[in-house]
Symmetry: C2
Subunit: 175 residues, 2 copies
């Protein structure tokens, strides 16, 4: 029986979601059934989505509304909260179900840090997830409870970022 694994990619550098997508590829290479739920992000048509949604054993949804306002009282925060809550319900179900070998919750840490979803039900679902399940969590500002429950945590530290140097977002790199 394989172990349950919880991997967390956080920090301010490029590579958090990208590493999670690399893990998704690896899981697919082993024929696993996978579930991807994206928070915050609104983009359709980005490379990873175009690519992975071709495969039968990938169930992919995104529940983001894009750019989050910094003011938590902003009226558009409510639409973010609604979208995230719908995704969160799906996520909790995917975690505890036997259907998926691999569950990726992209930007979940960011959604948690913005307070648009609560952490307790997530910790609870991770604890209840069956043995052998691979759980991958991404996003900046990972809460300490997630760091504690994860077995592998990487902080992606930005040393240099293209946009600081005036480079535009580009297909195959940022998209």
């Amino acid at each position: 029986m394989e172990q349950k694994r919880v991997l967390l990619f956080t920090g301010n550098g490029k590579g958090k979601s990208t590493a999670a997508f690399g893990m998704l590829a690896r899981a697919l290479g082993h024929g696993m059934n996978t579930r991807v739920i994206q928070f915050v992000k609104a983009q359709d048509g980005v490379g990873e989505m175009l690519f992975f949604t071709r495969f039968e054993n990938v169930t992919w949804d995104h529940y983001g509304k894009g750019f989050l306002p910094s003011n938590p009282e902003s009226p558009i925060m409510e639409s973010h909260r609604k979208a995230a809550s719908a995704g969160f319900e799906e996520a909790l179900e995917a975690l505890v179900s036997d259907e998926y070998d691999f569950v990726l919750l992209d930007e979940v840490c960011f959604a948690l840090s913005k307070g648009i979803i609560p952490i307790e039900p997530l910790i609870d679902a991770i604890r209840k997830a069956p043995e052998g399940k691979i759980i991958v969590l991404t996003g900046r500002n990972a809460p300490q409870e997630l760091i504690d429950i994860a077995d592998t945590v990487t902080e992606m530290r930005m040393v240099k970022h293209g946009y600081e140097q005036g480079l535009l977002s580009q297909a195959g790199v940022e998209e």
Copy 2:
């Protein structure tokens, strides 16, 4: 015309190669023609290889011999050097050619830091690479010259690693 991009994933944490494979997926989502050359690693049958080598527009080779001895005078170092040199030649060609939109040199930094390949021809080939090419470099101990030439550099900092906690390498996670 898209810009030439050079991305570097280094540091001691999990996620360097994995982020590069995520970028590969993204590039494939955009229909790019891709080239992957792996240094040092010897594994066949790992998930990423099983997965990505199914696709027509992925040309994937690995030139590693696995675990590198810490003593540079070790007699088996020679076989490592030979394997890496063959891969290096392919890499330099892929960088300057118009054939590939995306070139991933996995563990190239580690091979450089071990002195089994030289840095100057690599810097030269990166400079000569055509506009629009996406170049992704991974491996710990990235040399300063590569940090300087890259537009995006992330240090994957290990906060926690599964093996410290007695977890075994597992399909879909480490393999």
